[in-house]
């Protein structure tokens, strides 16, 4: 058969084609069998499922080298999704799971998805922590306080983001969520689509605590605020960099919600006018707190073949230079709890501290309630999804 061009004929003979197909399939089959053989001994491999940052080479490469092991890491953008993956049987895949504080004690541990840590081995490391996270820290233990469920590292306050050249920080702090939700702000902000965070902040903006069951009347008020938030937004995105870019190029002036991590990279990159703001006044039932702060809990997955490297990794993360690398991983810069140790603090310069708003960090954290599970989440999420679908 003559070949006029690539598209018109297929020059291989049937026999050659069959031979190649068989050898390729056999190769693939053999390759897929290999991990099974290597399964029994997992000293040389470790898999981690984490928020962006822990999956960066800056954090993982030195570990790979020192422990001579393969580390596979996958980033996540949703705590509930990660919890679901573990529920669906991914406990066989992962060795380390890194989620926001409340999930460990509220769902992962009660559902037997994570393994408690050896207290004797890990408790001394808590000496390094900032005063807010001193031992025994609530979110690192089981409800009864008996088990250590994981280690805390990165943390941060969450409120709104704003370009302070357009709206002053003080004005936004005083006027709170109402300013961004006012008609004057229509089309000037984006919504950062980490669903549970949008929901929490809208409940707070509506005047209630998201961490208790809401009444029908309160849910009605929440719906009004949520629909306004979504309808007035310039765009909705789960890409914090797209939002930071919008604030830099002037297409938007702010974001609802937003945490320090969503602007820290842009701030370090010469845009100190982008800032995370926590309003001064919140609902009375939250003690006047208007923001929500998160701390990540890094735990051992209840993997039937847990890699022995997983515990090593948790210890490794508490070394001063690793703590700094985690804090300054590519793409997102965050304070870490280990900054309570002078050896860790000494590794930061002024610009780096300014990237994550160190000047107001303690004050901002004091204006935040701890992230927790939202009891009315199902109903609130349905309303949120409908508002997005029906966006005017």
């Amino acid at each position: 058969m003559t070949r006029r061009n690539l598209l018109q004929s297929f020059s291989q003979s049937r026999r050659a084609f069959l031979r190649d197909t068989v050898s390729i399939s056999a190769g693939i089959a053999a390759a897929s069998m290999m991990p099974r053989g290597a399964w029994a001994a997992r000293e040389k491999e470790m898999n981690i499922y984490c928020w962006e940052g822990y999956n960066s080479d800056k954090v993982l490469d030195p570990f790979r080298k020192e422990f001579d092991c393969t580390v596979k890491a996958q980033g996540l953008i949703s705590d509930p999704e990660a919890v679901n993956q573990l529920r669906a049987g991914d406990t066989k895949v992962w060795d380390i799971i890194n989620l926001n504080n409340a999930w460990g004690r509220r769902q992962l541990y009660p559902e037997n998805l994570i393994k408690p840590l050896d207290k004797a081995k890990f408790e001394p490391l808590w000496e390094m922590m900032i005063p807010e996270f001193k031992w025994p820290y609530k979110w690192s233990t089981s409800d009864d306080g008996n088990e250590l469920l994981g280690m805390i590292q990165r943390y941060g306050p969450s409120g709104m983001l704003v370009n302070t050249e357009k709206v002053s920080a003080a004005t936004l702090e005083d006027e709170g969520y109402d300013l961004m939700l006012s008609d004057a702000f229509k089309g000037k902000y984006a919504v950062l689509m980490y669903d549970d965070w949008v929901i929490m902040h809208v409940v707070i903006a509506a005047g209630f605590s998201p961490f208790r069951e809401l009444t029908d009347d309160e849910i009605g008020k929440y719906e009004t605020v949520m629909r306004k938030l979504i309808n007035n937004a310039a765009f909705l995105s789960d890409d914090m960099n797209a939002i930071a870019l919008g604030m830099i190029n002037g297409s938007i002036e702010g974001s609802f919600p937003g945490s320090v991590y969503s602007v820290s990279a842009a701030r370090y990159d010469g845009n100190p006018n982008l800032r995370c703001i926590i309003p001064n006044k919140g609902p009375e039932e939250m003690g006047g707190k208007a923001g929500v702060c998160w701390m990540e809990l890094t735990s051992l997955v209840n993997n039937p073949q847990l890699s022995p490297r997983a515990e090593d990794f948790l210890e490794y993360c508490f070394r001063p230079e690793t703590a700094k690398n985690v804090s300054f991983a590519e793409g997102t810069y965050n304070p870490v709890g280990q900054m309570g140790d002078p050896k860790v603090m000494a590794l930061y310069n002024t610009e780096e501290l300014d990237a994550f708003q160190y000047d107001t960090l303690s004050a901002d954290m004091a204006k935040c309630a701890d992230f927790d599970i939202i009891p009315s989440y199902t109903k609130l999420h349905e309303i949120f999804s409908a508002a997005v679908r029906e966006k005017a």
Partner: protein
């Protein structure tokens, strides 16, 4: 039934007449020990486990009580009731509208391109095909991210217009049109390549004969070119439609969620909402909807006639 399938069924009937005298166990045994069946068994099992299995699981989950994570419960229609009483029709409509528009735009873009590649470039078409296929080696979301930087305010387009021409251009993102643009861009090869195969199936002699018999260019296109290239066109349209209807990244990255496509609703149910049964019910509805549309399309266009199997 086509002639070919009629012939096949006659042959099968012949066999069954011969073996009817034997008890069914023997006939089953003979059928099971046939080399054809045995050879197809491994692939059959693989398909059953890898393709039908997950679908069956989604099907089962669709009838489980909301917010649960096991398929071993009493079945219920609660998920479907919630879906029909809520505004999910908006996402279904948006997906179908975007998919249909994508197919329509791609038909117009790809047909001339396919003709050019098969009839005009002939020998060089291979290189052109490689160039057109090259983006497929890069992940969709990376390419879309590239377009975002291209179209965003202060990006390549607006920055260039502003700097060199002094024309201020706002962001071209976060609209229905931006989503549609993304879908057209991502799915272009999916329409183009089957269409090229379709166009290359049109024998040159057939066109020449039509011209000799006095047909105009329009008539040749309408009566010869398009009908003979139809298998490629149909397959391209179908693949593109299904892919576009199930798309998600285009609407998120370029569209800024200005339009919610059904895949996004499904993804939300499996992730943030932690409601697998509702996500499964939405998936089943989408499968049924897309499947019946595809079937209806194939029914309207007689594939056997297109493939020349009809006498």
């Amino acid at each position: 039934m086509t002639d070919a399938s009629v012939r096949i069924s006659h042959v099968a009937a012949g066999h069954s007449r011969v073996s009817r005298a034997e008890p069914w166990q023997v006939r089953l045994g003979t059928a099971l020990s046939k080399p054809g069946f045995l050879a197809a068994l491994p692939v059959g099992i693989l398909l059953l486990a890898g393709f039908v299995g997950p679908l069956a699981l989604v099907f089962l989950f669709a009838f489980m009580p909301p917010q649960t994570f096991s398929v071993l419960q009493a079945p219920t229609l609660a998920n479907f009731r919630t879906i029909f009483s809520d505004s999910y029709y908006l996402s279904f409509l948006a997906s179908l509208q975007l998919a249909a528009s994508t197919v329509a735009i791609l038909l117009v873009i790809c047909y001339p391109l396919a003709i050019a590649m098969v009839r005009v470039f002939t020998r060089k078409a291979g290189i052109l095909a490689l160039v057109l296929a090259a983006p497929l080696f890069v992940a969709d979301n990376l390419r879309l991210m590239g377009w975002m930087l291209f179209l965003v305010k202060g990006g390549v387009v607006s920055g260039t217009m502003q700097t060199y021409l002094g024309i201020p251009v706002d962001s071209m993102l976060y609209t229905f049109s931006a989503t549609l643009f993304g879908l057209v861009y991502i799915n272009l090869p999916m329409m183009l390549f089957p269409m090229i195969l379709g166009v290359s199936m049109v024998p040159a002699q057939m066109r020449e004969a039509a011209f000799d018999l006095g047909a105009s260019r329009w008539q040749v296109m309408k009566e010869v070119d398009i009908p003979l290239a139809m298998p490629g066109i149909m397959i391209g349209a179908l693949i593109t439609f299904i892919l576009a209807a199930g798309a998600i990244t285009e609407a998120k990255v370029l569209g800024g969620t200005a339009v919610v496509m059904i895949a996004q609703d499904i993804q939300k149910e499996f992730t943030f909402a932690q409601n697998w049964p509702k996500g499964s019910a939405l998936s089943m509805l989408m499968i049924v909807l897309a499947g019946s549309l595809a079937l209806a399309m194939f029914k309207r266009v007689d594939l056997d006639a297109i493939f020349g199997r009809k006498g």
